[in-house]
């Protein structure tokens, strides 16, 4: 038999309630009294509390229900509920209760604190747990919100990226592909929908030239693949991949390296051609100079040899100067040009004066359909362009020595501009020659009869492009060549006025 003193009972069950056989309260735990300050000895239990469980009407009936859970609800004090056991004793009923609370706020509303619960009573712990869960839920919501924001940011970054990105999940299905991925590979939205990784590999093998190793090989070696496509347009794509997560999902990264590959190809081609072009005159110089050094040569022949050496060294100097100019042009960007407003007609006239100074038999006609033609150009660079073009005119017009200059206004979209035509009446070009005319070192005449480096038109194209214009050639054999240059007009330019200036 275990007996508790009244103090021990109060400590172990601070919400206890003792009732006499008539149902009157004669003692109550200290915490219960704290929650119900108006509770007083002598009050009838049923006046203060309603019995929720068991389903009985009076306190007396509770005595027969001592083996069930008791739930009562206060008639006042915020209708606080209490739950506990019923002990039937000779002096009446002893109700061992504890408040039913679901939050700290409810506990505070009941005027209670954690210290009002017995140590063995887990009600306090439940409230702590509830509070912690609430805090954790708020944390989780905050975390989810931050992840959502990050996801949106990443989505925007990937949407705007010029590089392609795609993610194949561990199940092998395409989960995500940004617009650039679709664009670079030329895939339709339908093709991307539920795309399987193995189908993508098959597609890669059939779509690109030449065949590439498998994606699995690439993932193993960590080496990027270079994919070459010809349809719908020629491009070279670098493909890299990496395992993205522990489940085995794979991220693919695509980058368009067409320009880089093309630049490398041109660079190699350029170096090969430059070396070749330099070697030819050099061989001539070396051969004749060795002859002159090693054996006696008749004076007349000596003179010829020296003349050849001189001519070839002039050619080499010209070639090197052109190469240097080209190199400078390659480094030149629009922001490095000394742009200023110039009247294109004045520039043309200056170039005509200097270029045709030694060619008095040349007829230069002008048809300037603009009164004043202001363009924003680098004067020095533009004069070099005209000088190079006029040099070609002179070189390739051995018989019909005439050049027609025409200037007329021309809109390109919303941009006002001026079209300059330089038409000669020389030997002209065949269509296949025309096709390669702007390539570096391309020379229509391979006989060596015409001096030149094959760089003039390539430089002309660079110069015009730097000035946001464009250049085109039109020609037929024996019908001369027409060079058309369009340049944007300065915003301060005076509007075009068709005026005939023909000389």
């Amino acid at each position: 038999m275990i007996h508790l003193t009244e103090a021990e009972l109060a400590q172990a069950f601070p919400f206890y309630l003792a009732l006499n056989p008539e149902g009157q309260i004669y003692k109550a735990g200290v915490s219960l009294c704290k929650a119900f300050p108006s509770l007083a000895a002598g009050q009838y239990f049923e006046d203060c509390f309603a019995i929720v469980r068991p389903k009985v009407a009076t306190v007396q009936e509770l005595a027969a229900q001592h083996d069930v859970a008791l739930v009562v609800q206060a008639r006042q004090q915020g209708a606080l509920r209490l739950r506990g056991n019923i002990l039937v004793r000779a002096e009446g009923l002893l109700l061992l209760l504890s408040p039913v609370l679901t939050s700290s706020e409810e506990m505070q509303a009941a005027g209670l604190g954690m210290g009002d619960f017995a140590f063995h009573d887990a009600s306090g712990d439940m409230l702590l747990m509830h509070r912690t869960n609430q805090m954790s839920l708020a944390d989780a919501n905050r975390l989810a919100s931050r992840l959502r924001n990050k996801s949106k940011q990443l989505d925007t970054v990937m949407r705007l990226s010029p590089d392609g990105l795609a993610y194949f999940g561990a199940d092998g299905v395409l989960n995500y592909a940004n617009p650039s991925f679709q664009r670079l590979l030329g895939l339709s939205t339908e093709q991307l929908d539920h795309l399987q990784r193995r189908d993508f590999e098959v597609w890669l093998q059939t779509a690109q030239v030449p065949a590439c190793p498998s994606l699995a090989q690439m993932l193993d070696t960590h080496l990027p693949l270079h994919l070459s496509f010809n349809v719908p347009y020629r491009r070279v794509i670098e493909l890299q991949g990496a395992t993205a997560d522990e489940e085995g999902g794979v991220v693919l990264y695509l980058r368009d390296i067409t320009a880089e590959v093309e630049a490398n190809r041109l660079k190699t081609e350029f170096l090969t051609m430059a070396a070749h072009e330099l070697r030819t005159p050099l061989a001539s110089i070396r051969g004749f100079s060795e002859l002159l050094v090693s054996r006696p040569v008749p004076a007349a022949m000596q003179q010829d040899m020296l003349a050849t050496i001189n001519r070839q060294s002039v050619n080499m100097t010209e070639l090197i100067e052109d190469l240097l100019s080209l190199s400078k042009l390659d480094e030149l960007t629009r922001d490095k040009l000394k742009l200023a407003n110039h009247d294109l007609r004045e520039l043309l006239e200056m170039a005509v004066s200097s270029s045709f100074a030694g060619a008095d038999d040349f007829l230069v006609t002008r048809d300037y359909q603009v009164e004043q033609c202001l363009v924003q150009v680098d004067r020095h660079v533009m004069l070099k362009l005209f000088s190079s073009l006029f040099s070609n005119v002179i070189k390739f017009s051995p018989e019909h020595k005439q050049v027609d200059l025409q200037l007329r206004p021309q809109m390109r979209g919303d941009a006002a501009g001026v079209l300059l035509s330089i038409r000669d009446h020389g030997i002209g070009m065949k269509p296949e020659q025309l096709e390669h005319a702007f390539e570096r070192f391309y020379r229509a005449d391979h006989s060596g009869h015409q001096p030149g480096t094959g760089l003039g038109l390539a430089m002309s194209k660079d110069i015009v492009r730097l000035h946001a214009g464009d250049i085109a050639l039109d020609s037929r054999p024996a019908a001369g060549v027409t060079v058309s240059i369009w340049l944007p007009q300065s915003s301060s330019a005076v509007s075009a006025c068709p005026t005939e200036h023909c000389y």
Partner: protein, 179 residues
């Protein structure tokens, strides 16, 4: 450590340096700045890395960071979530420190994996006592100084605290003198 602790570090940093400062700390510590969930357990190493990064970012020693964090913990974090519990532990600093283990027994119900420190108090005279601190974690003694200072502010009791040479089996021994 539980996310509650890491989250308190985050709140302390944000209070002083703002969200961008917190992002810098996370970058330096090499952890994501998404946040922490109070009831989730995180590796202790993560908290140590955070303290190291906060130390660099704020130009304070790790000990100063831990002390500031201890004070912040009492004044804001514990107050925010567990004010009711704090109230039950006492109405004065001395009483509170004496009941700390009892309070931790409640907390352990919620944070089942918690390895809570153990505290005991030796009275030396009126308003003068020694706090003995045992912990499985190393290097957190400065945080205890901050916790005590925070509690003293909570109870509006000016104190002086000094760390005494440690005793065998203890991670820290502190003498507290009430003004």
């Amino acid at each position: 450590m539980y996310g509650l602790v890491n989250r308190a570090v985050e709140q302390l940093v944000e209070q002083h340096l703002g969200p961008t400062g917190w992002a810098r700390v996370c970058k330096q510590a090499g952890i994501a700045d998404d946040g922490f969930v109070a009831i989730s357990a995180y590796p202790d190493q993560m908290t140590y890395k955070l303290v190291g990064a906060v130390s660099q970012e704020m130009g304070m020693s790790p000990e100063q960071v831990l002390e500031a964090f201890g004070e912040y913990w009492i004044m804001y974090t514990a107050e925010e979530g567990y004010a009711d519990l704090l109230q039950t532990a006492g109405t004065s600093l001395r009483e509170f420190l004496g009941n700390l283990d009892q309070m931790h027994s409640r907390i352990e119900t919620v944070f089942a994996q918690m390895v809570a420190p153990v505290f005991s108090v030796e009275d030396e005279g009126p308003g003068r006592y020694v706090l003995l601190y045992q912990s499985q974690r190393e290097g957190l003694a400065p945080m205890v100084v901050g916790l005590v200072k925070g509690l003293a502010k909570r109870f509006d009791q000016p104190i002086a605290i000094e760390q005494l040479p440690s005793r065998a089996g203890f991670a820290g021994v502190f003498r507290i003198q009430e003004a």
